[in-house]
Amino acid sequence: MRASVVVFPGSNCDRDIARTLAAVTGRPTTMVWHADTDLPDSDLIVLPGGFSYGDYLRSGAMAAHSPVVRAVAERAKAGVAVLGVCNGFQVLTEAGLLPGALMRNASLKYVCRDVSLSVERNDTPFTRAYAPNESLTIPIAHKDGCYFADEDTLDRIEGDGRVAFRYSGDNPNGSRRNIAGVYSENLRVLGLMPHPERMADPALGGTDGEKLFRSLFAAFNG
């Protein structure tokens, strides 16, 4: 599997993801600077966590209109898998590649701790290594993670099986219907607020997040 990680000014989880991907795939991860417009051939493109462009205006808004994200959108349309974690999720919603928006946490506080998640379906390229309805422990670290969409949109994405993960313990940020991650219509684009790369090595306290990267590896090398 050939994986690329986009690096924006202000990204700060890019190396964590690159390291996890390299460990899972056994080959180096390609880093793509935000000013580049020709993306390398990739099976997976990752938009990492952080504070792209300082999160000015709205979290992810500036990055969503950068040339590299326009190129990512083209690849996504062609069926390339795209993963957005935390700020990457915010970028994908701002770019219109995923429905909804991520607003200020209901508590108004930055929340950084482990949360419980449920895997809503395990038949996508991102989740095939998980058991049905598997319960996961993965950390979150964000202030703008309250998932919002109008009721019609929520009904539609739930009906289409596009909810990827839900908070199964307490809802840490006020997200509608406890949604922690959503898919695109073709299930090839995933955005989620929790950080799977921060639970991808026994030294980090567990490997619940690593399975997401193992799923992708299996999907593209199976």
Partner: protein, 81 residues
């Protein structure tokens, strides 16, 4: 020509910052504050001198970047038009 743009949350969208401001006003002794909704104010200065063209341009800016239509509304006035 200058555009004075206000970006506000749509009705029904939870505004925890507005609520926190309302609570702070209450604790300062301002009685009778029923609700607070907060938003953004943006000024854009344009080289365009044709008012119709300038308005159309600002409208597009608001749709494409300055507001997020999922949760926000925008409203603007032109100065010097």
């Amino acid at each position: 020509m200058k555009a004075r743009i206000k970006v506000t949350l749509k009705n029904g969208v939870l505004d925890p910052q507005g609520k926190a401001i309302a609570n702070a006003l209450d604790s300062l002794g301002f009685a009778g504050v029923e609700d607070v909704r907060q938003g953004k104010y943006i000024e854009v200065t344009l080289a365009e001198t044709d008012p119709a063209k300038a308005r159309a341009e600002v409208e597009r800016m608001c749709r494409e970047l300055l507001s997020n239509p999922v949760m926000e509304n925008f409203h603007f006035e032109m100065e010097g038009a």
